[in-house]
């Protein structure tokens, strides 16, 4: 096993609803060149590429083919990875394995989403297209009135069940979700690469947004964002030669489960707030990183939270606090940027969601915090030695975990 470091991070200049001024490949290339500038490398340094996005959202299949020229990949190996919301981190993990295999020294992960050129809700509804088709062919009315409704529109349907179950299990109230969303919008205001920013956001302001599907309010939901993120990974030898600062990869892990909602054809298995796959992935990651007590050893965490309750829920599932304790940590201010365990100092996915990038942004934000390079006032004041990045995706059942450190892992 070989030590692998993150030595460069690149973002497109802004993450906003509509990047009307650039095409898809142009937007990706902004992030590619930003990463090169960030670490002083050039395309000649790259040995391989990994690439990820959820292409049904834009309607362009395998866009790495179209974008190969724009991301400086010509003549190089490139592997396309797609696992849903986790795509960015799955592509990053793939890059990690490239370097850790000993066969490649420097590998670039390229991710993006340009939601404004497609329709994310159609893309998400497309997850269950064959099931919908079957139900229609069986004469099942999906427009309402059926006793077995609940397919839900887009991803907000199933997620509501998860939030209800989480509240029931944890003893938290909807006011805690409001407060968590407000905290992340305030954090986002300090992150130049965040989308929904509100420096004065309060729980009361979130609570005033309309209820979409109990207990999910409009203010708890992520936006659809245009954006691109790039990460450069290198072997220890390469990093020593070219990088002044690096974040070291201590562990990567992932786990899938069974799709828990919407799949009426094959039944529903588990409580969507159980997230067994997250617990398994975290356990494996801690083992690999030699972490015995994550509550004490992890200094900072970035959680994939398409919906604000997930920040709290996953804090528990990742073993970073006891079950039912996350909303208490929030009340005590421990998860603020200057708190004991800063959580989503970046503003999280709930403030910025260009899907292909979202799970990678969790990693790059942890890396920048470790390097002390987080811009715009969201650098945490404490020294970050170990940070955890989490990704969530699939149809609510897929989780990825990455643990980074400020030095190579002592084996």
């Amino acid at each position: 096993m070989r030590d692998v470091a993150i030595i460069g991070v690149g973002y497109c200049p802004v993450f906003v609803s509509k990047r009307n001024d650039v095409s898809i490949p142009e937007m990706i290339s902004e992030a590619v060149w930003s990463a090169y500038r960030n670490c002083g490398l050039t395309p000649e340094d790259m040995d391989a590429f990994t690439f990820g996005n959820m292409h049904t959202f834009e309607g362009v299949n395998m866009p790495h083919l179209w974008s190969a020229d724009h991301i400086t990949a010509l003549g190089k190996p490139i592997m396309r990875i797609a696992t849903g919301g986790t795509t960015g981190m799955s592509a990053f993990h793939c890059a990690y394995y490239h370097v850790a295999s000993g066969l490649y020294d420097t590998v670039m992960t390229v991710t993006f989403e340009k939601h404004s050129e497609g329709d994310a809700q159609v893309g998400l509804a497309g997850i269950i297209t064959p099931e919908i088709m079957t139900m229609l062919s069986l004469g099942i009315d999906l427009t309402g009135g059926s006793g077995m409704c609940g397919l839900g529109g887009g991803s907000a349907g199933g997620i509501s069940f998860q939030a209800t179950s989480y509240l029931h299990r944890s003893g938290a109230g909807i006011e805690h979700i409001d407060a968590q969303a407000a905290l992340e919008r305030r954090n986002a205001a300090k992150n130049p690469y965040a989308h929904l920013k509100d420096p004065e956001c309060t729980a009361e302001k979130i609570a005033a947004t309309p209820m979409v599907s109990y207990p999910i309010r409009f203010g708890h939901i992520c936006p659809t964002t245009d954006g691109a993120t790039v990460c450069i990974l290198a072997s220890a030898e390469k990093a020593a030669k070219v990088a002044d600062k690096a974040a070291w990869i201590h562990a990567v892990a992932n786990c899938t489960s069974d799709p828990t909602t919407g799949n009426l054809i094959e039944g529903l298995i588990t409580d969507p707030a159980e997230q067994m796959s997250c617990q398994i992935a975290a356990k494996k990651a801690y083992e690999r990183a030699g972490i015995e007590d994550p509550k004490k050893e992890i200094d900072l965490v970035e959680i994939y939270n398409g919906f604000a309750h997930q920040t709290l829920m996953y804090l528990e599932k990742l073993g970073l606090c006891e079950a039912g304790e996350a909303h208490r940590m929030l009340e005590r201010g421990e998860t603020e940027i200057d708190g004991r365990l800063p959580v989503n100092a970046s503003g999280g996915v709930v403030s910025t969601n260009s899907i292909g990038t979202s799970a990678l942004n969790r990693v790059t934000e942890c890396a920048l915090q470790i390097m002390g390079k987080a811009e715009g006032g969201h650098q945490v004041p404490k020294k970050v030695r170990k940070a955890l990045a989490h990704g969530w995706g699939g149809l609510m059942q897929y989780n990825t975990v990455t643990i980074l450190g400020d030095a190579p892992l002592k084996r």
Partner: protein, 381 residues
């Protein structure tokens, strides 16, 4: 690469219409290879799927395949391209050190359920090529075929002979079910034009198929089989999306991919060292074009020799004794099937299409229009 990563088991099926749902196809294929090896799903450390959401007609298509492939509460990821790349990813995982086994599953249902052309259509530049409406997988291949014929001084009759040679191999392969009997030159020549100069029988058939491949670390491999097939090297590369600046009469990225794979495998003279090559030849002109690009054959000699059956199973280099992708192209599984075919050739298990006793074999997969992206894996016994 020395004995570090091995393929220990394969299971695959291909056909015009396997009459299965994707879930049952995945289940059957994975169950098949697990049963061959006498292990259960818990013996697999990670699952790597190869499929495509546009082919599946659904976003995040792997979520419904995780169950049938046995990945419930396991480590799973998806390489969204030809399955040979999932084989490469599986090898990287094992080389990293945390995994002893990896299950690769590639599949498609392009026989009757899904149009195989859609996924390529949607990969084109939506702001130009899709607006113009002229470029698609077949018209692109026709342009490349025309360029290749001209560069090598060949006529359309050569395409008929090349296709007949490939299909004759496929006819002998019980793993292929395209109706190939009597697919001689005249029958090929009388099939209808799709895009001139390409006729229907110059082009791959819409195919259902799935392929499962189990990879293992050296130690684990010897526990699972007494005849592991070792991954000696691999490489891949991509060319520009844009035709301008690309020489369509060869494949620069296939050459890059092969060069990298040979370097990793310590092969200095591929033309004499590789005894068997399985390439993803979607169209009749591609097998010799690829063999020449990858340094396995002389560029001028290859097309004629191929059409004359000079790369048959008794030749020093057997090229696509399986019948290649021209006999069956389950999109996303095709490159993985090439690996599987090479596996059974190296183990001497290829039955009627067994090509001598090869020691080193090459498997190839491609993505994109006109061989834009290529991956090569070198296997040895």
């Amino acid at each position: 690469m020395d004995d570090k990563v091995a393929i220990v088991g394969i299971e695959y099926s291909q056909g015009d219409d396997l009459g299965l749902t994707r879930e049952r196809l995945c289940f059957r294929t994975v169950r098949g290879v697990l049963d061959k090896l006498g292990i259960d799903r818990h013996a697999i450390d990670c699952f790597i799927l190869a499929s495509n959401d546009f082919l599946e007609g659904r976003t995040i298509s792997n979520v419904f395949e995780d169950g049938p492939v046995g990945a419930y509460l396991k480590d799973e990821t998806k390489v969204e391209m030809d399955g040979i790349n999932a084989v490469v990813y599986g090898a990287l995982r094992i080389l990293e050190g945390n995994y002893d086994t990896a299950m690769v599953i590639a599949h498609s249902l392009c026989g009757h359920q899904v149009s195989p052309y859609l996924q390529v259509q949607y990969s084109l530049d939506p702001t130009y090529d899709r607006q113009l409406g002229l470029l698609n997988e077949l018209s692109g291949a026709a342009l490349q075929a025309r360029a290749y014929l001209r560069s090598r001084g060949l006529d359309e009759g050569w395409l008929d002979r090349a296709a007949a040679a490939a299909l004759a191999n496929g006819a002998a392969n019980d793993m292929v079910t395209r109706s190939l009997d009597g697919a001689d030159e005249s029958k090929v020549a009388s099939s209808s034009y799709l895009y001139e100069p390409l006729r229907e029988m110059h082009c791959y058939p819409p195919t259902d198929g799935a392929c499962a491949i189990v990879l293992a670390s050296a130690g684990r491999a010897r526990e699972l089989t007494d005849r592991p097939v070792w991954i000696r090297g691999f490489g891949s590369s991509i060319d520009s999306y844009y035709f301008a600046g690309r020489d369509l009469t060869r494949s620069a990225s296939a050459a890059d991919a092969a060069r990298r794979a040979f370097a990793m495998a310590g092969i200095s003279d591929p033309a004499s060292e590789i005894g068997l090559a399985e390439v993803s030849d979607l169209f009749a002109y591609q097998a010799p074009l690829l063999a020449a690009s990858m340094g396995l054959a002389d560029a001028d000699e290859a097309p004629r020799r191929f059409a004359e059956g000079g790369f048959g199973k008794d030749a020093r280099l057997a090229l696509n004794p399986s019948g290649g992708a021209l006999s069956a192209h389950p999109v996303c599984a095709t490159g993985a099937v090439r690996v599987a075919e090479a596996f059974r050739q190296l183990r001497g298990e290829a039955g009627a299409v067994q090509a001598g006793e090869p020691r080193l074999a090459l498997a190839h997969g491609q993505d994109g229009l006109c061989l834009q992206q290529n991956t090569v894996v070198v296997l040895g016994i």
